[in-house]
């Protein structure tokens, strides 16, 4: 039905292109809508409306808003996890391990602010963070990396689970404050977080904080 005569050069496969495009169109629309309305308030209808596509078409690609969200998340995690892992793998010192982790995270967040906000969003009242399998895998990976680093003697024997939690908590929470500042300075954020984990409060850089909103 949609077959083009085989003799014609076939402009790169209309079908395939559209198929991939539609998936991306939906994901893009979802990002916008989640960022606007927040995850909880967003409906599949809202996503479809932000799309030139028909309602039924959505279901050729995803089965629910959860699935779209997960796909979004997974895309992100897939993009950042290898970088984080690589950074830690090549760390020769604790400081490299820690600073590499934070720097990579903050730089990613700054470069993809839209996505980060869609995920960890501040409406006036609500924050949503969806921990998809990919995200959770990222946490496990961090813990595994920590455990390996302990095993290899790079880190002293400590509570890898709590340390992972602390790193994650600081990373997300500082990222958020960072984005609210005039010039989101990833270097400052990295220095701060790294210093905290390296030497505690007394090691923190002596600077004048900027006031956020």
């Amino acid at each position: 039905m949609d077959l083009t005569t085989p003799t014609a050069p076939r402009p790169a496969g209309k079908r395939e292109r559209t198929k991939q495009q539609n998936r991306q169109v939906i994901l893009q629309a979802a990002r916008q809508v989640f960022a606007e309305l927040g995850y909880g308030a967003t409906t599949v209808r809202d996503i479809i409306r932000a799309t030139p596509l028909a309602a039924g078409t959505f279901y050729n690609y995803f089965n629910s808003k959860e699935e779209v969200f997960q796909a979004m998340q997974d895309e992100i995690a897939l993009r950042i996890r290898p970088r984080l892992h690589e950074e830690r793998a090549k760390a020769k010192t604790i400081e490299e391990f820690i600073s590499g982790t934070f720097r990579t995270f903050f730089e990613y967040v700054a470069s993809d602010e839209a996505n980060f906000h869609a995920i960890r969003r501040n409406t006036d009242t609500l924050r949503v963070r969806m921990d998809t399998p990919e995200i959770l895998a990222g946490f496990h990976e961090l813990r595994a990396d920590l455990e390996e680093a302990i095993a290899s003697g790079l880190f002293p024997p400590l509570d890898a689970d709590y340390l992972m939690a602390a790193i994650v908590g600081v990373a997300f929470e500082i990222a958020e404050r960072m984005l609210r500042r005039e010039r989101a300075c990833t270097e400052d954020a990295t220095r701060f977080a790294t210093a905290l984990f390296m030497g505690g409060i007394k090691a923190l850089p002596a600077i004048t904080p900027e006031a956020p909103a």
Copy 2:
């Protein structure tokens, strides 16, 4: 009919009492349902169903699930904020400031696990945290306390905003891991978090971590 026994302290009007009870009944039901289904998936209907009250009665007290949630949050914040503030106010050293904050928080969380779970919940996929004015005020209070501690010379001059963020991130994230452990040990959690903020990773207690779920 309206005569009160002179001995008994006038029961403040049955009407009034019932009214206060109903408010609490709804809040309690909301806590359960939020903890069960997660905030996003909960509907006003669900809350009403978890109540002996009629549908319309809900709307005599709250206008939406958001409002119930906020009321819950505010109750919690109101309960814990004074304790936190007091703890920090009487701190003579940085360590007292930090450990007092974490201990108070972890002990509260452990004692009011249900509430905490209703708010910072992990379904398979979603975390919700609603920052009501009261909660945000709690954050501001922490920052203000930090700034004051800097001004008074207790703390060195540092980025109070980021430090606040780090404390909040670590507190929530570790609290969550703590609750998943067999025996939620607030002392361990406090010691860990305090050590991290006092001396960084190298100061962390050398223990064997327990595996979480």
Copy 3:
């Protein structure tokens, strides 16, 4: 029931006064609300809200909004019907009969515009006119008066039913246009309607019309 004990000076009977007042308070509130929202959109709640009284109190006086409306209407009809009837009864000529009817009606409408509008209301889209028994009785009275006037030879033998309809239609419709004019001139309206019924179009006063809204 309304009897005051002749012996005691009794400060005008607090109870009775309140009772009558409440009825009027409700009627007054209803007038306002009907005029604001239109009859159809008004709910009993709306009326109560426009009152300092409690919800239950409403039901001591009326059983529904219909009843309030009817009471309003009846009050009006009761106020105007005797005047109309009297006017027609003393008519010695057809012209006196007709002009007396219209003048009385237009003057009443002008003097009690608020009530008239509450009854025959123009929202953007809706006109409501409720023909309560009292109002219908007014129509019957007009027809009866016409029939009597025919019987007595004042009017020729004609279709009293249609003539009544024509008078009512012209009265209400012109009253409405009259109220929209800058200076609602009852004399002009009366002269116009009377002339129409006395001699038809060719007898109408030659004036320049004012443009309505």
Copy 4:
């Protein structure tokens, strides 16, 4: 599959056809229900129930009962306005203008009694008339036609606004009485109304009125 038989005129898309049908189905149901219950008492549910369609389908076509009502009104006005205007345009005398207007109106009302009743209905208590833009446009058209007829010298200079009001009032009010009579005789009604406007009461046909309900 999508092939159309070359001989048959393409059925304009079954989808499209059904869509138009559903709109009509809803309008038809609304007419019945309004006529039965009166506009005020009718709910959207009532309309849906009078339909084989699902609840949600209603909202694909209209957003409220008001919108259905307006659509009904507009349909009617659209159907009758051109006829009225044409009738008046070709009038050579005042009598033709007046009688043409009334005859067209009464004949339409008699032929579309259901619609008229849905709009100008007498329950025991309530009359509703909704003046949609289309209806108001019909009034303005009548006034404009009158003004033009005055300008052209057909009519003497008179208050076109009041005359319009009088015509409208008489038309609606007599139509209603007409429909209540055993044999709704449009000719009688036309003759009566025309005579009234041509020569006033004394010109009215001398007949014995029939008693209404």
